[in-house]
Each structure stands twice: as structure tokens, then as C-alpha cells.
Subunit: 235 residues, 2 copies
DNA sequence: AGATTGGGTGAACATACGTTCACTCAAATG
DNA sequence: CATTTGAGTGAACGTATGTTCACCCAATCT
């Protein structure tokens, strides 16, 4: 981008998400091992990529140099951690997959009252979504856009997630009228709907409780319709 | 990408999707007006962008120069047609929106037999999808990834599509038990499911009739479940 | 017929990019 | 304590990018 742009343009708070050397000896005594430091830098690179995508761009449009810039590291360092941008992308998929599955644990932890069950689940989902915006943004964004490789990896995580959800519903004894294949199909529908809702929620301007309630209501109703359909299902 | 790569690498069939000057006087007599030629070049630029995305990349990762290269035009020409890459993106959204809505006309044209209705619709959809791969690929890919601006435009087209579908179902007298808001919610669910299926189908390797049938079957069953739910719905 | 318009051109620019290399110097190893 | 290891560095490379400009010349207008 040549356009003259006289000002250096970088207010130092968009860049340098992490201090450049992360306080080599943070507090008098804290000897931090070599492996720990490596892991930390790796995490900074992953965070930097997510952060940039948070500014509203697809993974495919990130450059190695800007990722390292935000991570507070020189470009060459990148290769100590990843072979490729694709490689980093796959690491992000894995990280996000873990986050996704913790959502199920979270939902299990919150016992589900048979009445208001859907509303409760949706509330758990909304809270969890807000606590892990960037991971959901990444998954929702790359699950049908961008590179075929990353998309395939995301879809694999998603299938994993669906399987786990299927098992949970089976174990809870809900929907006893459906055989496993059908239950899986229904869970796939739920997850598609959930990902769609995630995109909706993430796009909402921060302070629009009205729209927020509207989307939540729509999401609840869509889930209700799915469960009604599942109950009425005959093989 | 500096890596040496001794061969020039461009077999002239990946690039130059369109001949550079498009036969100034194609056949002795065919005087082509100025406006027509402009429109044609514009179309070449749009096609070039879609073509590149067809190679498995997000819109956000395309560069102005490669688009013009594939369109068979010099970079500077781009600005005679679009102010911006974003501008071109929005034009693509509009084009794709038109394509989407023609799907509904297509489905209306094919009278829907009350029995096997879902299977028929899905078949129409699959045919139409194959005939307009790139537009669907674009819409499905950008509806939750990439730039916020383009995503918003895609979602607006999608809402338009949902509204039209709602009206169609209302007019056909299907689902008379649902009020308009609920019918709209259900159609939203259908469209989300359809977009998801589109991504699945587009990712299928060309010659895998087994997987193809599997995905088709899954899609049909998901739709069936939705309609079952809609029938059981009580306000 | 002559003047005007405007889509397409080709060269030039400053900047950003991915990748390589020889290097440093603290932590790990013995 | 002496040696080895390897994450992070800084400079350099060749190439690609977005944008501008003066120019060309056929279709259009008068």
C-alpha cells in the first residue's frame, strides 16, 4: 500500500500485543525454563493471528510478517515454531477444537432442568461465546471459507463435537425414539444452527440489548423447532 | 514468494482466463458498442475473482493484480470499473444474490408434487448448485468469514432470499398453522441448512457418487426433520 | 469531417512480503 | 566450570503489491 500516509500510523497499541521481550526476569526470582519460553512465544503467535482476525479479516489474508509484528517477535522467529502459515492455521483449529469441546463440559456441569432447558443451554452458550469470542470467530469463519485444508480440519473438529453431543444426549436419555444415526443427523442440524447463531452474535454491536434479545429469541425458537421435529420423527 | 522456482510456472491456461484483447473485430462484421465492451471487461474482472476463489481461497486473499492478470487486462484498468477490491466484492454479492433468487424461480417452475416434495427440491437444488458453483462458493464462503462489510451484504441478500421463500411457502398454502414470523424463522433454519449443505457438496471430490448420495440423504433428512417440527409447532 | 471522450496501456514509485543466513547469548547438559 | 544447544536477532535478497500518471486511439458526439 504505497499511498503516502505521512504519519507512521501505528499507535503502538494495535501492534505489539505483547511486550517485545516479556520481561526477561519478570520479578527478581522466576527462572522460567527454555521450553516454557518457547511455548509462550508460540502462544503469542497464535494469539496474534486470532487478534488480527478479530479486526475482521479472514485467516487467508494474514501475512507472516504482521503476525510476528503483533506477537512482538522478528519474522525469522516464526519458523522456529511453524513450518508454514497453514501449519499455524491447523494449530489454531486444534486449539479451537479444544475450546469447543469444553463448551459441552460446561453445559453438562450446568445441570439441565427439563423445563427451560433450551433457554438455559442458549444462555450457557452465549456466555461461553463471549468468553471465547476469537476462537468461535475463527471456527465459524473458516468452516466454509478460505483454504480447503483448514476447512477440512475445522469440519473434522466439528464432526468430533457433534459425535460428543450425540453421546451426551443419548446418555441423558433424551430423544429415546431416535436411533443413533438419526440422533447424529439432528445434532448436526443443531450445530449448524449454533454456528450460524455464533456468527450473528459476534457481529452484533456491543451495546444493542434489543437486537441481542431478538437473535437469542430466534435461536431458541429454531432449537425448539428442531427438538419438536425430533420428537415427531418416525423411522 | 521469493523461492527460486526456475520455471516461469504459468502454463497460460490458469492465467488469461480470457484472451487479452477478445478479438477486436471478432467476425468481419460485429461493431460492438463502447458500453458493451466496458460491461464485458467488468464481467471478466468479476469472473476472474470468482475463478480464483474457485481454486480454494477466500475473497480477502485475492490481490488486485492477479485478478486483472486472470481477466486479461492491465492493473490500472481495474480502476475504470471499481473503486476498490471491496467494491468488486459487493458487486459479486449482488450478482450472487440474483443467482440465489433464480433458484427459487427454478423451484417454483418445477411444480412440487406433495409427495417426494423434499427429494425433488433437493434434486433441483443440487442441479442448480452444480450449474452455479462459483456463486454458491462465494456466498457460502463469505457469509461468515472475511470482511465485515461483505459479510453484512451477503447476510442482507440471504435475508432477502428467506423473505421470498417465506412468501412462496405462504402462497403455496404449506404450513398454514404457522404465523408469518414463525414461518420466517423456519425458513431461516432451512436456508442455514442449505448453505451448510452447499459447502458440503462443493467440497466433494468430483467422482464420489457414494459420498454424494450420503450427503444428499443427510440433507433430505434434515429438511424432513425441520418440516416435521414446523407441523408440530404450536404458538 | 473534426473534436471529444474514455476504456485500456505501460512504465514508474514506494512499500510489503516470504525466506535465508550467519549471528548472539542464556539456559541446559556434562 | 566448560560445552553444547537452540530460540530469538538483524540484515539482506528477489519478488509482488496498490496506486499514479501521461499516453493512445477507436467509438461517439457535434
Amino acid at each position: 500500500m504505497p499511498r503516502v500516509e505521512p504519519a507512521p500510523v501505528k499507535p503502538a497499541e494495535l501492534e505489539a500485543l505483547h511486550p517485545p521481550s516479556e520481561a526477561l526476569h519478570p520479578r527478581g526470582e522466576s527462572p522460567i525454563t527454555r521450553g516454557e519460553r518457547k511455548q509462550r512465544t508460540r502462544a503469542h503467535l497464535l494469539d496474534a493471528a486470532l487478534h488480527l482476525m478479530g479486526e475482521g479479516r479472514g485467516f487467508g489474508s494474514l501475512s507472516l510478517r504482521e503476525i510476528t509484528r503483533v506477537a512482538g517477535v522478528v519474522p525469522a522467529s516464526f519458523y522456529r515454531h511453524f513450518h508454514d502459515l497453514n501449519d499455524l492455521g491447523l494449530a489454531l483449529v486444534e486449539e479451537s477444537g479444544v475450546t469447543l469441546r469444553r463448551l459441552l463440559r460446561e453445559a453438562r456441569r450446568t445441570g439441565l432442568p427439563p423445563t427451560q432447558m433450551l433457554r438455559t443451554s442458549v444462555q450457557v452458550f452465549r456466555d461461553y461465546l463471549n468468553a471465547h469470542r476469537l476462537h468461535f470467530l475463527f471456527v465459524a469463519g473458516e468452516r466454509s471459507g478460505g483454504s480447503a485444508l483448514i476447512r477440512a480440519a475445522v469440519r473434522a473438529e466439528e464432526r468430533h463435537f457433534i459425535d460428543e453431543m450425540t453421546q451426551d444426549l443419548r446418555q441423558l436419555g433424551m430423544m429415546p425414539g431416535l436411533n443413533t444415526a438419526t440422533l447424529q443427523m439432528a445434532c448436526g442440524l443443531v450445530v449448524t444452527t449454533m454456528m450460524n447463531a455464533a456468527t450473528d452474535f459476534l457481529d452484533l454491536p456491543k451495546d444493542q440489548p434489543q437486537l441481542e434479545r431478538e437473535f437469542t429469541e430466534n435461536f431458541v425458537r429454531q432449537l425448539r423447532l428442531i427438538f419438536l421435529g425430533a420428537r415427531a420423527w418416525r423411522e
